[in-house]
Symmetry: C2
Subunit: 295 residues, 2 copies
Amino acid sequence: MTQLIGGIEAGGTKFVCAVGTGPDDIRDEARFPTTTPEETIAQAIAFFQRQPEPVTAIGIGSFGPVDPNPKSPTFGFITTTPKPYWANVDLVGQIRQAIPVPIAFDTDVNAAAYGEYRWGAAQGLDSCLYLTIGTGIGGGGVINGHLMHGLVHPEIGHIFLPHDRTVDPFPGHCPFHGDCWEGLASGPAIKARWGQAAETLSEDHPAWDLEATYIAYGLVNLITTVSPQRIILGGGVMGQERIFTLVRQRVQALLNNYVQHPAIIREIAAYIVPPGLGNRAGVLGSMALTHLLTR
Amino acid sequence: MTQLIGGIEAGGTKFVCAVGTGPDDIRDEARFPTTTPEETIAQAIAFFQRQPEPVTAIGIGSFGPVDPNPKSPTFGFITTTPKPYWANVDLVGQIRQAIPVPIAFDTDVNAAAYGEYRWGAAQGLDSCLYLTIGTGIGGGGVINGHLMHGLVHPEIGHIFLPHDRTVDPFPGHCPFHGDCWEGLASGPAIKARWGQAAETLSEDHPAWDLEATYIAYGLVNLITTVSPQRIILGGGVMGQERIFTLVRQRVQALLNNYVQHPAIIREIAAYIVPPGLGNRAGVLGSMALTHLLTR
C-alpha cells in the first residue's frame, strides 16, 4: 500500500493543505484564509481528519520566524512574528496532538526550495535557492543536499543593497530596516512607491526597471555568497516573463564576467527560473519535507 | 604509527606548508613568497620531499578562483585569476605527480573555515563562516557540517552594499565591480581612500568608523542569508580589538532586534570572533581538509 503524506503550507494570508503521495498524485487539497490560530489550525486538523485514508506523516512549511530545530524546547513554534495572534504559537504541537504522526517542520521558503529540489526546477542538482517576491521577500535553499539552517534560518529578504536616493528617493518600507531588500522591492514597497499595485502596472512602467535592479542586486549577493546551482523565483511580483528577462540581463551586467561559469555567462535563462511546481511549490514542498524525517 | 598529513596554504602573496598530525603537533613548517608557478610549486614539493617521514595525504587551500569539484576535468586548477602566470594552473596535478598521495583541495577561505570548525573557534558547531579582510575580502564556510559549494564556491567579497556617496565619495577599488564590499573595505581600498595603510592609522582615525560600517553591512547580509552559528574574522584589517567592538555594535544596530537569538542579542562578543587558530588558520585548515578525503 502506498503511504499517504500530508502537507500544510502555513502562509501569513492563507493555509493550503494537501494529501497524496507526490506532485502527480494529490488526493485532496484545501485552502482557507489565515485568521486566528484557533480557527485556522482547527481547519487544518479537520482537513486531515476527514480524509478516507490516514496520513503517515505531515510536513509543514510555515511563515515565520519559526523554530525549526528539533532539539529545541520551542521546536515547531512560530516565534516572534508581528502578525497578530500568531507569535509564540506551537503549530507543530497542536497539529500532532490531534494527528499523532511524525511531523517535519521548516520555513515556507525552505519547504518550497526542498520541493523544487526533489520534484521541481532543481531536480538532479545539489543546491538551489528559492525566493518569493510578493507580500514580502523570503528565501530558502538547499546546499550540498541539506536545507539551509544554522543559528536560526535564512531571512534573505532583509539583506541590505545599494540604494541610490537620487534615483529612487523612496525611503523603504520595512518596519525593522527601512530600505532593506524587502523594504525596497516587495509588492507593498512597489505599491507605496508608485501608488498602485504591481499587478496593475503596465509592462513598460518604469517601476519594472527599478524593480529588476533591486532583484538583480539581491541575486548577485546570493550568487557570490552561496554559489547556488540554480535560483528559483516565485511570488506575485514575478508574474511576468519580462521581469525575468530584465533581472537576468542585470545580473550578468553586475557580475561583469567575474563568476566564469557557463550557467551564468551563457545559459542564464536556465539558471534564474520560475518554480517548476508553479504556485504549488509551497504545499508540495511541505509534503516533500516528510522525506527528511528519520523513521 | 600516527599518520602524518601535509597542508599547503597557497596564498596570492605567500605559500605556507606544514607537516604534522594536527594543531598541537606540527613537525615542520615553511613559508615562501608566491612568485611563478614553476618556482613556488617546486618549493612546496621540495618541502614535503625533504621530510624524514612521508605524508599520507595533503590538503591545499588556495587563492582563487579555483575548481574544487572532484568530478570536473579541471579539478584542482586555479582558474581565471588575474594574478600573472597563475591562471589555469593545475596546482593539484603538479603536486600529485611529485608526491603521489590523496590530495584535498578547496579555496583558502573554505580551508580556514574548515580548520576553525574542526580545531578552532567553531568546534562543536554545525556551521560557521570565516572571512578574511586584508589584501582582499574573501569568505568560506561550513553549513550543516559541509563546506559551502555549489555552482563554484563563495566569492563573498563581491557582494554589493549600501554606499552613501555623500558620506564616502570614494568610488571603490574593485576592478570588476567598483564599490562592492572588497572595493570599499579591503586593505587596498582603505589605503586608496585615506592615503595611508590600515596598519598605520591611529585607533581614533575616522577610517575605522566607516570600515566598521561596511564590515557590519556585509555581516548582516551573511547572517540573514546563511544564518551561521559563528562568524570568524581574520586578515590584516582585523588586527585591532577595537574594530571588533565597533563591528559588533553596528551589526546589532543594523539588525534592530530582527534576528531574535541570544547569540546576537546578548552574546555577540562570542558570535563575531577572531580565528581560534590565529594566523595559522589557513595552513591548519588546509591540513584539516584531508579529513574530507574518502579513503
